[in-house]
Amino acid sequence: MEPAEVEFLAEKELVTIVPNFSLDRIHLIGGDLGPFNPGLPVEVPVWLAINLKQRQKCRLIPPDWMDVGKLEEIRDQERKEDTFTPMPSPYYMELTKLLLNYASDNIPRADEIRTLVKDTWDTRMAKLRLSADSFVRQQEAHAKLDNLTLLEINTAGSFLTQALDHMYKLRTNLQPGESSHSQDF
């Protein structure tokens, strides 16, 4: 997948906005949205929130987890534990990027938040590589990693699957009586 595709999926997540316009309920294929009343918070998918924000028709309310204190806790826990911390959103990275790009004026301490999220991402990716290396060294058949997000899997995934493919081919060469006349390499 391209990161843009993962972002597309992330944009379905709901976020709270405060509109400055009125509109009755709208009925979309994916479901109903609204009604919208000036000053009254309402939940909408991120794709709509960003569109409205760009047209200056609302302000965005950052999700609960997009807060310096909370993110520091998460970052610290990530650094401490060997396993992956459950993230407050399966699309934490994508949402951070989207909301900070389009609505940083609605998010207090936006720069610190960006740094904290990036730090957490870097720690998780390093953990993923460590895990992959240990998996490869011990030539395990099966591994289970909980709490990874789609973007993380997507970024490291193609490398890992291709490497494992090669290992598989090298390993099947070890089978006796295998007539490996393939030119796959």
């Binding site: 990027k97 290992m167 060469n173 006796p176």
Partner: protein, 162 residues
């Protein structure tokens, strides 16, 4: 015409064609790097070996050499395979880390000692990283000229005519 018992260097594809375990027209000598002495080097530290100089298709070629198993010594094939696999496993970490961390740098030093298979893997890792970085900067949604198109301008008139 060739004398029986003479030693020749021929391409792999020809050797494969001539090889027949029943008729034994040819017997293949295992190249140095797949033999005992080198195996000790690999097991000491697989990361320092310049597989590109050795190969550049160390893994692929090694796999193909299995076609010429000497029936008198089947263990050689097994130990060779194991050595290749272990070499790959030992070098995996460095390839993964460098390909997923080197952004916008000259990577020639990093890939210099990798064989072709490892280089292809390195490129995959780089793509993952570059795609992510590009997305994070918001460049994923910008329309840019394809690099193919950008190169058109470099063609000279004489090339087009000829």
């Amino acid at each position: 015409s060739f004398l029986q018992g003479s030693k020749l260097e021929i391409p792999l594809w020809l050797a494969k064609g001539l090889h027949d375990s029943k008729r034994r027209i040819i017997s293949v000598e295992l190249p140095k790097i797949y033999r005992e002495a080198w195996r000790t080097v690999f097991s000491a530290d697989a990361n320092v070996v310049d597989l590109h100089k050795m190969g550049p298709y160390y893994y692929g070629f090694g796999s193909q050499l299995l076609n010429f198993e000497n029936p008198e010594n089947p263990e050689i094939a097994q130990t060779d395979c194991l050595c290749s696999l272990q070499t790959f496993v030992a070098r995996f970490r460095r390839i993964m880390d460098s390909s997923q961390n080197a952004y916008n740098e000259d990577t020639s030093a990093l890939v210099a000692r990798l064989d072709e298979l490892e280089r292809a893997l390195f490129q995959v890792g780089q793509k993952g990283l570059n795609d992510f970085q590009c997305w994070e900067k918001g460049q994923a949604s910008q329309i840019t000229a394809s690099s193919l198109v950008q190169n058109y301008g470099k063609r000279k008139l004489t090339e087009v005519d000829g």
